[in-house]
Amino acid sequence: MKVLVAVKRLVDYSVKVRVKADHSGVDLAGVKMSLNPFDEIAVEEAVRLKEKGSATEIVVVTIGDKSCQDSLRTALALGADRAIHIETSLETQPLGVAQALKALVERESPELVILGKQAIDDDCNQTGQMLSALLGWPQGTFISKLTVKNKEIEVIREVDGGLETLQMPLPAVLTTDLRLNEPRYATLPNIMKAKQKPLEILTAEALGVDLSPHLKTLSVSEPPGRKAGIKVETVDQLIDKLRNEAKVI
């Protein structure tokens, strides 16, 4: 089984971003960039499928400018076999990305596509669902467990009400939640080896897709901050404050 994993390079999860003074966007100058944590989990799951013998080849893809090749090299170091970079200078948004991935799926014919459930910069949580709908393939979103059974898979999804189990035929689209696995660290030899693995560069035009954004960000701002609170010394003081000042108990 061939597995396609889609990844995004974005601001590292530990960075607290700042809004630019003119409110036109977020200041990304000199900020540490990483592979989206959910996508790292997606890569790890594909690698585990290969280690178990369920997957035969792992192709990793990203869409963006040249700097995004970092994230492809990271994925290759983690165990992906080859990489595809769909190069664009446009701002990537879920619909365009899903359309480009659909075109790539038609070219590559994987039996399973794994994506992170959301990118932690725009927090959209859309691309996997859009891709599933465009392809007409079943979807398993926000999954915390994957079991492959011949031409069928079973997934456990993290939903508001608890844990949901679904069964579906292949091919299918999956999106990862945090507890699916704990990604490994890339070892130095694997990082070196990743530099030799194939990385193909494509354009959106070659795939016949239009990546023009549909949504325009007019401005960004920081949310109103909370007033700094006070420290209380004792439990009695806390109860008194909650009863008589905040009046919440």
């Binding site: 508001d160 701002s221 439990v235 806390l238």
Partner: protein, 312 residues
Amino acid sequence: MALLLIAEHEKDTLSPATLATLTAAKEFSVPIHVVVMGSSVKKVADDAASHEGVEKVWCVEDPALSYPIAEQMTKTLVELGKSYEFILAPSTTFGKNLLPRIAALLGVAQLSDVIKIDDNKTFVRPIYAGNVLATVRSDDPIKVMTIRPTAFDRAAPGASKASIEAYAFKKPEQPTATFVKLEQSKSTRPELTSASIIVSGGRGLQNKENFTLIEQLADKLGAAIGASRAAVDAGFVPNDYQVGQTGKVVAPSLYIAIGISGAIQHLAGMKDSKVIVAINKDPDAPIFQLADYGLVGDLFTLVPELISKIGK
């Protein structure tokens, strides 16, 4: 042109998140139609029709809809949705799982987690775990969006009685996922996203046994229980207790964070709470920067003391 609200329902009524989405829908000042899908949804349709502002309720019934599988619902909703100007759903796992599919097949963008409607094409939504708010404009002919339920009050039933019409189920042509089972955490406590008080525990509890402290305090206060990602990852509590960027977003009147340091991903899920209390042994924990009342010390002595004194 009108607005289509895709209802999430539980048993015979609209879910609280759907009621919040209805309040958001009213801000568009266009007729509101609600679509209810299931194997037998007459009672839900009646509930939807009883809410003020709802003009029409579409009722889609089929045995294939006995459990909400997104692929089963998509074709019907795309057919129905293409004659609307706005399509809304709550930003719950139900809405997030379903709505991007409808948008993609209509060839339009989707906006996630809208918290404010500036006008009929301009919306505010959180990005970067809620550390930044983006004002976004959509010029697509159909605006498809999920609404963050904590940002809007829940609509109350009114005197109005909207018309209820059947809409034919369109069976999907392609393979779909099938439902196997749902493991629900059994609890007699209030539901996390609609509770007025939440007691939340984190890594500081150290183990599952100690988490009973959180339960005892919650029961004393009639509160729901929440948890940080660390507590869920460590297996202290099930996944549906998780509050944060990738878990549930809550905004109760009182949020008590115990043994939670306050990673930005957790703060993203609770910082709109009215009053925040933090109990933590580390005086420099980031949670104290947004807590209204902070208590520094050992939770294993402070929480039992709180439990014994708070009910008096």
